[in-house]
């Protein structure tokens, strides 16, 4: 089973190469992509079960023993992240198959969408199984480069504009990450996360603090936490709906995952935990206030995405095993639900021709299925019982109450308030887009029934309004209203189903999260797994080759 670990990266990568080699054959590309991602779902699901039963899977690539070679580590957290990500990738892929994104009807190049999507998946998986900081960096870069291509897909004006912001900000965060790695290596002489646990603990506390903050800033930009989040709502909404959905679900969570690893494994006795709680509060509040002021659903959801990253940081900042457990469950919930909401918005855009709340309306009658598919994840994100959002928040608040510090109680209050504000922002969206009549949306002062002559007159005004929208200088690009393919609806419904599964199986899943959280709280366990029992692959010559050279020795220990 251990030798299967790299497959979660290799399958998507090699499939991407295969799909690239078949540029004109869309059907073949689609088939390859679906098969590859299904395989990743199956593999990561199996990992989750095996890791839970038998403990952490550690693979030393090429048989080189732990601190010298590259370690791939799948513990409970990694396995859960892999599974959830793979499910999201597959769900969004089916949605985009339905949308015919690659057919060229969205001005997209035919042949690169599926390979790039697979590369993105490979990068995400690589980040989750990375056992050393540099491999984590490589995973980040793979997924980022793929995301650069996807966010500027088609090269239209708005996408290029948004893409420039996104690319430059991501480049800066990558450079910061690389600088942080250099500093960590300079201070400790290793990048293996398990070995870093031991060596960072020996460093003077001010150096620990500096390394911690450097990594936190680098990851914080990717995770979109408060002062570093302003690039996100600018760049995500302009991408095609499935791309936005998968970005919103996965990319920020990879950053959060890296923060979890850093705070639990590298700096278990970190002094920035208090700072994290403050940052979490600001992320929660500023994000949701941004969401309330938005007139476009995609931008609104991007702000709620930022806001809810705050809950995750809240759980990490508490630095207790209960806090980690709640965070882990909440990540799984949030990845699924946020993606589902963006997919539902994709359906709205497809059906209504726009995502602007100024011009949407009357969709409850026109598209009741879409209304339901938006309504359920909306309640879920808002934390209405019995949905998983409620369970996750309950877990966080329970952990905070157990911790019992004033800061934790403050954050409970902030978290509850933000939960209500999320519900307010989304309920307002729902009532504007679905509940009010079409006529009211078009500016009719007394909302007449569409069948009356007055209503018909209003329909005439509708076309006039759409023409004006086209003429207006800064108008949203109003696409034609098209039939919604059944596969798009089915994929969204499937994701809603998965989000409901998180609720139905909340018991076992939360118990799993608790076990994962307990492991995270004991950083020495992973050290034993990675360094203590090196697993031999192949000839077993790894130990011999690895002997005799330690970079720390050659420099005479001048690092500390």
């Amino acid at each position: 089973m251990i030798s299967l670990v790299p497959l979660v990266v290799l399958i998507p990568l090699s499939s991407a190469a295969l799909a690239l080699a078949l540029p004109g054959r869309r059907r073949a590309q689609q088939l390859i992509t679906v098969v590859a991602l299904t395989a990743v779902v199956a593999l990561s699901g199996a990992f989750m079960w095996i890791v839970d039963q038998q403990g952490t899977l550690v693979m030393q690539v090429g048989g080189w023993a732990a601190p010298f070679g590259i370690s791939l580590v799948v513990d409970r957290l990694s396995a859960l992240m892999l599974t959830v990500s793979a499910v999201v990738l597959l769900g969004v892929l089916l949605f985009s198959l339905g949308q015919g994104l690659a057919d060229g009807d969205d001005e997209t190049p035919v042949s690169i969408y599926y390979p790039t999507y697979l590369v993105l998946g490979a990068g995400v998986c690589n980040a989750f199984i990375a056992g050393d900081l540099f491999n984590l960096y490589v995973g980040f870069e793979i997924l980022l480069v793929a995301s650069y291509v996807l966010i500027t897909l088609g090269g239209t004006g708005p996408r290029i504009r948004a893409g420039v912001t996104y690319v430059v900000v991501s480049l800066v965060s990558s450079i910061l990450f690389l600088v942080s790695i250099a500093l960590v290596y300079a201070a400790t002489g290793t990048v293996n996360i398990a070995q870093l646990t031991l060596r960072i603990a020996e460093l003077p506390s001010n150096i620990q603090l500096m390394l911690n903050l450097a990594l936190l800033v680098a990851f914080g930009i990717k995770a979109a936490i408060f002062p570093l989040a302003f690039w996100l709502p600018d760049s995500y909404p302009t991408a095609p709906a499935p791309v936005t959905a998968v970005f919103a679900g996965l990319l920020t969570k990879v950053g959060v995952y890296a923060i979890i690893r850093a705070q639990t494994q590298l700096f278990p006795y970190s002094s920035v935990d208090g700072l994290l709680l403050v940052v979490a509060a600001f992320t929660l509040v500023v994000g949701i206030l941004g969401a309330i002021s938005q007139l476009d659903i995609k931008r609104l959801l991007s702000f709620t995405l930022i806001s809810h990253i705050g809950y995750l940081i809240f759980g990490i900042g508490m630095a207790t095993s209960a806090g980690y457990a709640a965070t882990i469950y909440y990540i799984a919930h949030h990845i699924i639900v946020q993606t589902t909401l963006f997919l539902a918005v994709g359906l709205i855009e497809r059906h209504g021709g726009t995502t602007s709340l100024t011009s949407l309306g009357g969709m409850l009658r026109a598209a009741p299925v879409i209304a339901v598919l938006f309504f359920i994840p909306m309640l879920n994100l808002g934390g209405i019982p019995p949905f998983s959002g409620f369970i996750g928040k309950l877990g966080l608040f329970t952990a905070a109450a157990e911790l019992g510090t004033p800061g934790a109680y403050w954050l409970m209050g902030v978290g509850a308030l933000v939960s209500l504000l999320t519900l307010y922002a989304l309920a307002r969206t729902w009532s504007l887009a679905f509940w009010r009549t079409r006529a009211a949306a078009l500016g009719g002062s007394n909302a007449p029934v569409p069948n009356t002559p007055e209503g018909l007159m209003l329909q005439g005004r509708e076309t006039a309004l759409i023409e004006r929208l086209h003429d207006a200088p800064d108008a949203l690009p109003l696409q034609e209203q098209r039939e919604t393919p059944a596969l798009m609806i089915a994929a969204t419904a499937g994701m809603v189903g998965v989000s409901l599964l998180l609720t139905f199986f909340a018991g076992p899943l939360y118990a799993y999260s608790v076990r994962a959280g307990e492991r995270l709280a004991q950083s020495e366990l992973l050290v034993d797994d990675v360094l203590g029992n090196p697993v031999e692959i192949g000839s077993g010559s790894g130990n011999n080759r690895a002997e005799g050279y330690d970079p720390r020795d050659s420099r005479g220990g001048d690092s500390s």
Partner: protein, 153 residues
């Protein structure tokens, strides 16, 4: 074991970082790209400096292990160079496309129209929007924008 600090490299790194960050903050995308290249190279130098004192080539059998340079930072740098190369190529394509799309703005970063619009937009409620309110929303009026431009002139 020599303790000589490669001061020249440190100085070069500092200069590259400062010039690179300055260029990254520019509005012109070409300068941003140049800034990224400089900062990337500065980072590579930083990684190189983490290997400590210089030694022999880290090839097995060429020298005693204790006399060798640390090979790991060199592997990091190679990886980083490859990534920087790929990303730079993508940036160039992006800049070219951006320039093609908006020649009059040259290659500068463009403002987000949504943000600007939101600053002036009326608060939207579930109550029915009247015609007057709709008129005030900037996206429906092109006359205001023209007036502003005329005033500027």
């Amino acid at each position: 074991m020599t303790l000589s600090m490669p001061l020249v490299l440190v100085a070069v790194m500092v200069v590259l970082f400062s010039v690179g960050v300055y260029l990254l903050l520019d509005r012109s995308l070409t300068r941003v790209l140049l800034g990224f290249l400089l900062v990337g190279n500065a980072t590579n130098l930083l990684i190189f400096l983490t290997s400590g004192a210089f030694g022999a080539a880290p090839i097995y059998g060429e020298a005693e292990p204790l006399e060798m340079s640390d090979p790991l930072p060199q592997a990091f740098i190679l990886t980083a160079i490859v990534i920087t190369f790929g990303v730079s190529a993508f940036m160039l394509a992006l800049i070219y496309r951006s320039w093609r799309l908006a020649r009059e703005d040259e290659d500068a970063v463009v403002d987000d129209a949504h943000d600007l619009e939101l600053v002036e937009a009326e608060t939207l409620t579930t109550e029915e929007v009247t015609d007057e309110e709709l008129e005030k929303t900037p996206e429906f009026t092109d006359s205001d924008a023209d007036d502003d431009q005329e005033e500027d002139r």
